[in-house]
């Protein structure tokens, strides 16, 4: 395991994580549990953690509906949550 750290932005704020961290882990580590809102405006966050439930979708580099649990953080990545 590399100890290399990378920087990305979550909702515009800089966050530093170990390389290989999933976007879902990065969001949770930053203290957020609500990733998005359902159609009825209820909070949603990761449930399965393995790409099946689609509850953890966030916007990554301007692309909406990206599963945070299936996406690995990259340097300079811009993540937006809708919690």
């Amino acid at each position: 395991m590399s100890e290399e750290r990378i920087q990305l932005k979550i909702n515009g704020l800089p966050v530093e994580v170990a390389q290989g961290t999933s976007v879902a882990a990065a969001i949770l580590n930053s203290g957020r549990t609500s990733f998005r809102q359902s159609v009825d405006e209820e909070s949603r966050g990761p449930v399965c953690g393995m790409g099946i439930c689609f509850e953890c979708r966030v916007s990554v580099n301007g692309h909406p509906h990206i599963r945070a649990c299936m996406t690995t953080c990259e340097a300079g990545m811009e993540v937006i949550t809708f919690g």
Binding site: V39, H63, P64, H65
Partner: protein, 371 residues
Amino acid sequence: MGQNFDAIVVGGGIVGCACAYFLSRDLKRVLLIERGPIGGGSTAAGMGHVVVMDDSPAQFALTNYSQQLWMELYPQLNHACEPRMTGTMWVAADEEEFSHVEGKRDFYVKNGLPAEVLDTKSLEEAEPSLRKGLPGGLRIPQDSVIYPMAAAQWLLGQAQLRGCTVMLGQSVTKAKNGEATLQDGTVLSARYIVNSAGDHASSLTPEIKIEPRKGHLIITDRYPGYVNHQLVELGYLKSAHEMSQESVAFNAQPRATGQILLGSSRQFVGWNDEIDRALIAKMVKRAEEYLPSISQLSVIRTWVGFRATTSNKLPLIGFLPSDPKMLVAAGHEGLGITTSVATGMLIADLVAGRPSKIDRSPFAPTSGVAA
């Protein structure tokens, strides 16, 4: 049982529901029979584009009249019906297609419908997701979209408020001379029977020839603003008219939720209701020619449905020549949501012996169009 009805409507798709809606304004005892859920067949499988089509004078008259009727109903519809004035954008893929746009606009304008030609720049402004550099398009602002299943249920609900009764879970196996035989052997009698069984209308009335024409649809997750109008390629009519085995045309609809409905395919493959993955891929490839970023969108479902297709591409609306108590309202192909309400009105006019606002003769189920 032998119960006496004024009219029995067989089939609770949007066309049957519209027939019940208008018949129940004139008649006390109307019964609608549906074997599955209301609006659960072709009605549920389609897009719900309320569109005026200019491909033949009869089709134009019917779609135009029906759109006017929908516009009168829109303020009354419930929230679930989601009527929205998106307009249609007919998109030209090349200069050859664009050269026909002005003639098409002139036809609409001459017939009293607003229509606007957009050049490359104004098309890009109106629909930023479209490929850059397309020659232009034609905007028909009064076209709209609606949620078909909810609209069918609303029409029938209004009919029920006027006393129409509904029988669910029963199919009609025979209908002749004002007698409808149910699957369980019950015979119901009525002054009039309307066959609005859609893609299954031929099995009840063998004299008419209606074939199932399979279509695939794709729906994406929610991407509000990705598409603003119902986008249709100008070559769409070519695809719809081609009576070949298989054709694909680009057609994208923004739903009220921000989801994109993506079509379309046409196939004559009988009642095979399997999803054809290769054809879905062709539809996406076709869409990519217009919306290059479409494959970045997340698809949540694909499904198939069957259009009720006649040989002359017009629905059959009217009395069956061989049976003065039997009417047909079927064969609406890909336009049943648009033309349902005009069909219901024409059927009610026929039963009441009234003249109609449009010429009914092109739709009459005569021997000319039967089989």
